[in-house]
Every structure is written in C-alpha cells, then in structure tokens.
C-alpha cells in the first residue's frame, strides 16, 4: 500500500443511507411474490434487464430478471461454483457468467434464493446483447415455454425509419403474445398508466444519480449499483416511484447537511461497465482510501437513459425508440458522446473501465473509447480486467497495484 494512502478509518465513515432497509424489504417481498405466483394464480415471465417490462406489469404478470439473479449470485460469491457447474454441462467458460450461473442454477437450485421461480413465458429483448438471445433459447428449450423476442436493431450510425417501424410492430406483437398466453386482453388505459409510472420512476432514478453532480457526492456508484434493482425489476410500479422519491429526499438532505459518502472526497471518478459484484465492498474501500469517489457510471445510468422523449406519442410508441437506443445498443462514437457528457456533468477527474470478459458488447470497443476520452478530453483512464460474477477472473493483487499506480498519476 502506498504511503500516502490512508488506512480505512471506520470512525470516519459516512452515515449509511437509511433507505437501504426499505429497499431490502421491497426486494424480499418481490421475490416472495414471484416465488408464490402459482398459489396466487399469477403468471411469471422472465425478461431481460433492458426489456420493456411495462406491458407485463399492465397485464399483471410478475416479471423476473435472470440478470438480477446473476448479480445476486455474484454478490453472494457463488459465481465461480455455479459457473463451473455450467462448464460441466458443456457451456464454455468464455460465455457470459450471468448466463452460465443462471443456467446452472436452473438445474441445481442452490443459489442465493434456491433457484428462480420457473417461467410461464420468456421475453427477450436483444438491445443489450446477443447473449440473451442464446440464453433465452436455452431456457425455452429447458422449460418448454413460449419465447418472445423483441429484436432491436443495433444503432451504428443511425436509427433508421425501417428499424423504427420494425420495433413498433413488434411491440404490438409482444402484446398479442401476452394476450394469448395470459388469456386476457390488454387494458390500454392501464398500459398508459404503467407507462406514466415508468417515466416518473425513470426520471426519479435520473434525479437520484444526479445528486452525485454535487461536490462532495452524497453517494457513490457503489450505492447506485445497489439501489438500481428497483428501476430494473419494478419499473412501471408505484412502489418504485415511492421508493426513489424517498431515496432522493434522503440524498438531498445529505447534501444539505454536507454529508458525503467518501469522507474526504478529492477525486471524482467515472465507472464504466457492470460492477464486479463479488468485489464491490473491496473496490469501494480501495477507492475511498485514496479519497476517490465513483460519482457516476455508465451502467446504472443506462436505465435513466431509457427516459423516453414522449413528444405527443403514446408510451408504446415512444418505447420503440427508447428501448432501441439504450447505451450498449449504440456505436462507440455515440457512446463517447454520452460519456463526454457525463464527464462534464459530474466533474470527473478520471475514468475506470471494467473490461468485463463476460460482456463483449460492453467491453469490446473500450480500448477505442478510452483513446478518444484521453485524446479529446484529456481524462486519464484505467482499465481493469475482470468479470462481473466469476471470481476466478479477478486478480486482486494485480488490480490493487494498478489502482494505486493510477491514483498516483491522478494525484501528481
């Protein structure tokens, strides 16, 4: 450990965010609800994290997110064991660890919640990657349930009119799919109401993240990784709206009281890519020991990027474009524009990129992105090679040294 790096001083720790306990309660209830869906006569749909959940909520189907489950597996440090199991089943070690861990847990049911509730149907939106397409095909074969694919063409240089038309017609196909498999008709008034709640919740989530534009930041990206769960899983519900309002009030209060998450915040960093779920505590303390706060990240803000530009459209119409243009469904140069914006908005001194071997659409291209950020904005950037769930891909001593060296250059 470098000399000028302070030992972690628990006495100087910022007060915990109070809303955390409410969040845990909501998530527990949500999973109990999902696990007892059959008894309640409700259907369960598995859906990808970037998928349009609103129609499910409007149809009273319980959405379940295998990726959120993957994150829980990672945070509970069960990733390596489950990934190994998947490898025994024939899935290559080079595949996404969310998919591997989840596929293995479908069979083994030894994960943090004893296996996800089984799906009645599957909804896969490929706006995040091609992995989910293959993963959901696997699930469809395993559970023998219907699969709906919402195909959102990648946006290299433009979001074309034909893509818009294609996605919009699929949104109606999606609703027809739900109507068939639920045996009820969509109530479009309810749909618009869910849409309004979704927009409101997403706006509040953005406001929560925006509190970190304040210097010092009342929370860090590590907190955002935790509080993200609701905007992913319960987007479009009153619960999510109420929760984020509560969280926002608390963060604003912290700002008013001068409370910062990193006690002596001096350096402000931007995180890129998924969290390293099994090392969030370690990384958070590591950066805090350098007086560095991760004030923003491209990952949790991907969901606030889903805030549609309604412009007189119905929610369903707005959804087509919004869901297609999410952060990782766009080209590197478009990503750069977003990152450059964040660097300015959050007054960032440096960037930390997690080169995540699980996630090719997020990680390939990072080298070019880094070069653009350094050349055009002069912002120093560190790359950490790891994986979000599979601990075997994390070399602690090497990363420790690299972070120290990076922080030294920032300080000099």
């Amino acid at each position: 450990m470098a000399d000028n790096q302070k030992k972690h001083d628990p006495a100087k720790k910022a007060p915990k965010i109070q809303a955390v306990s409410r969040m845990k309660e909501i998530m527990t209830n949500y999973y109990i609800d999902a696990k007892t869906a059959r008894e309640q006569g409700k259907k369960v749909a598995w859906i990808t994290s970037g998928g349009p959940v609103e129609p499910l909520i409007a149809m009273d189907v319980i959405p379940v997110y295998p990726e959120n489950h993957g994150a829980m597996i990672g945070a509970s440090k069960m990733g390596a064991q489950l990934c190994e199991k998947a490898e025994e089943m024939g899935y290559s070690r080079d595949l996404c660890s969310y998919a591997r861990a989840d596929i293995a847990d479908s069979v083994q049911k030894t994960g943090p919640i004893g296996g996800l509730p089984e799906p009645d149907m599957l909804v896969c939106c490929n706006n995040i990657c091609g992995t989910v397409l293959k993963w959901y095909e696997t699930a469809a074969r395993y559970y023998k349930v219907p699969l709906f694919i919402l195909d959102t063409p990648f946006v290299h240089t433009e979001f074309s009119d034909s893509a818009r038309k294609y996605v919009l017609s699929q949104i109606y196909e999606y609703i027809a799919f739900l109507e068939t498999h639920c045996g009820t008709k969509m109530n479009y008034d309810r749909m618009e109401e869910v849409g309004r709640l979704s927009v409101e919740g997403t706006g509040l989530w953005q406001a929560v993240l925006d509190t970190c534009a304040h210097r010092p930041a009342p929370m860090t990206a590590f907190d955002a990784f935790f509080h993200l769960a609701l905007i992913v899983t319960l987007r479009g519900t009153r619960t999510a709206v109420d929760y984020y309002r509560q969280l926002l009030d608390e963060l604003n209060q912290r700002i008013a009281d001068g409370v910062s998450m990193v006690p002596d915040e001096k350096y402000r960093l931007l995180w890129d890519n998924l969290p390293v779920w099994y090392k969030t505590r370690w990384l958070s303390e590591k950066f805090a020991a350098h007086d560095a706060a991760l004030v923003a990240d491209t990952y949790t803000s991907a969901w606030s990027g889903m805030l549609p530009d309604m412009g007189g459209q119905t929610f369903l119409e707005a959804m087509a474009e919004t869901y297609t243009k999410v952060y990782i469904n766009i080209s590197i140069d478009r990503m750069f524009d977003i990152v450059a914006n964040m660097i300015e908005k959050y007054q960032v001194d440096g960037m930390v990129m997690h080169s995540n071997r699980s996630c090719k659409p997020y990680s390939l291209g990072q080298y070019d992105l880094r070069q653009m950020i350094m050349d055009r904005l002069g912002v120093p950037t560190l790359i950490i090679e790891a994986d979000m769930v599979d601990e075997r891909a994390f070399s602690e001593s090497q990363i420790d040294t690299r972070i120290d060296a990076f922080m030294e250059t920032l300080k000099s």
Partner: protein, 374 residues
Amino acid sequence: MTSAERFRSIWRDPAGYGRSVKQETGRSILGFFCSYAPVELIYAAGVLPFRLFGTRGEISLADTHLQSYCCSLVRGGLEDALKGNLDFLDGAVFPHTCDSIQRLSDIWRLNAGFVHHFDAVLPVKLNTESARQYMIDVLSGFCRELETAFGKQIRDADINAAICEYNQIRKQLKALYAIRSQNPGLFEPSAVHWIMTAAMVMEPAAFLREITAFLDQIRSSAGAAAQTGRKRLMLAGGICTHPDVYDLLARAGADLVWDDLCTGARYFEGAIAEDTKDPVAAVADRYLSRSVCPAKHADITARGRHLVDAARQQGADGVIFLQLKFCDPHAFDYPYLKQFLDEAQIPSLLIEIEDQPPPGGQLLTRLETFVDML
C-alpha cells in the same frame, strides 16, 4: 494451371488474388465476414464481394483495439485491415451477426481507413412477417447505399442476373459436396476447403468456369475410385480456416463427407427464386428459409434437427465440432446440439480452436481415439 491448382493458389493467398483483380480490372471490391452478406446485391452493383477469413499471421496491431477475449476471426480480420493486407478493398460491409462483429464494425469504421463502410443491420429474428419486411427494407436500403457509393444504378435485371449466377455456383458446390460424400477417396483432404475459399473470393464468372471444369474432370475419374471403407465424419461449427484439421482427419483414418459450417454447406444451401419481380425480396427469402446461423433466431430446435438429419442423410459415423474460442453463438448451441446427436446415437467430439489450432500431435491423438471408438 489446372483448376485444382488454381483453387489452391487462391486459397494460399486470397489477398494476392484480390490485388490482382484490382490491378487487372480496376473493379471495386467489398470485403465481408459473414454468410449473411448479400453477395448478389453487391455483385449487381458491379462490385466484387470478397470474403475475409482473418489473418493467419501474428497479431500485433489489433491488440490495441481488442481485448484477448475476442474470437480469432474478428482479431485476425482487424489485424489484416490495419496492416494494410487488404489494401485492394474499397471497403467492407458488416451484416449484423454477433456482438463481436457488431463492435468490429465500429472499430473498423473508426480506424481501418477504407473509403466505404456499410452496416446492414439485418433482423436477428427470421421467423415473423415484420422481420421479413424489415429484412427487405434493410436490403433495399443497402442497394441505395451501394448505388451512391459506386455510382451505378442497380436495376432489378442486374439483381436477377446476379441471382442466376450465384445460384449456378451454389448448384455446382452442392454437386461437389455430393460427389465427395459418395466418393471421398477422390479428393485430397483439403481440396474442398480450397474450393470453398476460392468460391467466396473469386469473380463469380471465373469461379463458375473453374468449378465446372473441375467437376467434369472429377466425374470422369469417378468410376475409378471406390468406397474407401473408412469412417465417415462431418464437421460442424462456424468457420474453419485451419487446413491442418483436414489432413489430420485423413491421417486419423477418416473421410470428411459433409459439414455444417458457414464457410461450407451453409454457404450454398437454398437457391434464390429466379426472375421474380421483386428480386430483393427473393434474396431476403433465402435468408429466411435457409438453415439458421446460431447468431440468428428462428425455430429453437431447428439447428439440432438439421444437424441430425444431415448426419443421417450423409451416413456420417460421427460429428466433429470445430469451436472457435470466444465465439459465443456457437458455444451457446454446443450443449444442445450435442444432446440432439447423443439422442440420435451419433458420437461427437469437440475441438476448440484458438488463434492457432491445437498442437498437431495432440490433436491427431484425439482424432484417432475418436475414430477408433466409432
């Protein structure tokens, strides 16, 4: 030079061939990586479509753009572009396939410095009417972009002519595969691989002449050769650019009789309707009906059934999966494909290929063990 020798020399140095075409004819050449690149439309624009296979040499320049966990096709392709090995290309087209190719397109557009760059963001889903309509829209849009880039109007008649020419090629390749399946002893182990490589880079008319001559000659000698009595194998996977594999298979005492590779049978499967009023739709329909690539979605068990059917039809005793390391779409399908084969009692073996194939001796032992077990 005999046809066989010509194929072999083009296989040995496809870029050398591309460069000679450029020098001799001055025509525009467009590179592509994937069997979803609509070669008929490119050709109808007066441009030669030229398949890229990735470098066989060392990787140095691509390392500053791509992490180590990226397949050798993407890395090798970028390396070739950055090194100037593809200086005869006017640009490249990237049909949407996998996550890695998707990012390669960005990196290529920002760094490779070609005059033209096309993204054909095809649908991933191939089994709905709206996907079909979108596919047609994308292909029509691509035609318009080609017209602007190369200054030649693409008429329906041009597309129909290209369709006929490529259908002829597909027909001949299919005949080639059928002859090999009946009489594998007639061919050198890598001969079909050389031909397939040539088919994907050569001027269509020139290739058609050579393949026709080659087939005539093979047919005339067909009477002489008899069944070899060796084990019959099939290859399955994406792309195979390692000819060693063919020689090793032969040395292990087996005949390669068929494949399910995108640089193999998937390239020539499915003819396109000729002389239709809407030739772009006809091109789209081939993609929608042909056996699906794992990066696309149609029926979720179609690939498994297709593989088992092909193995049965060709009387294959076993299947070898050639898996390019870090190729997600194929790696995701492997367990289920293997299960389908297991259920049909067709033995299979998985070989993972990194930038370089596994050491020859070790691979040979694995292949021999597998063949002995059949």
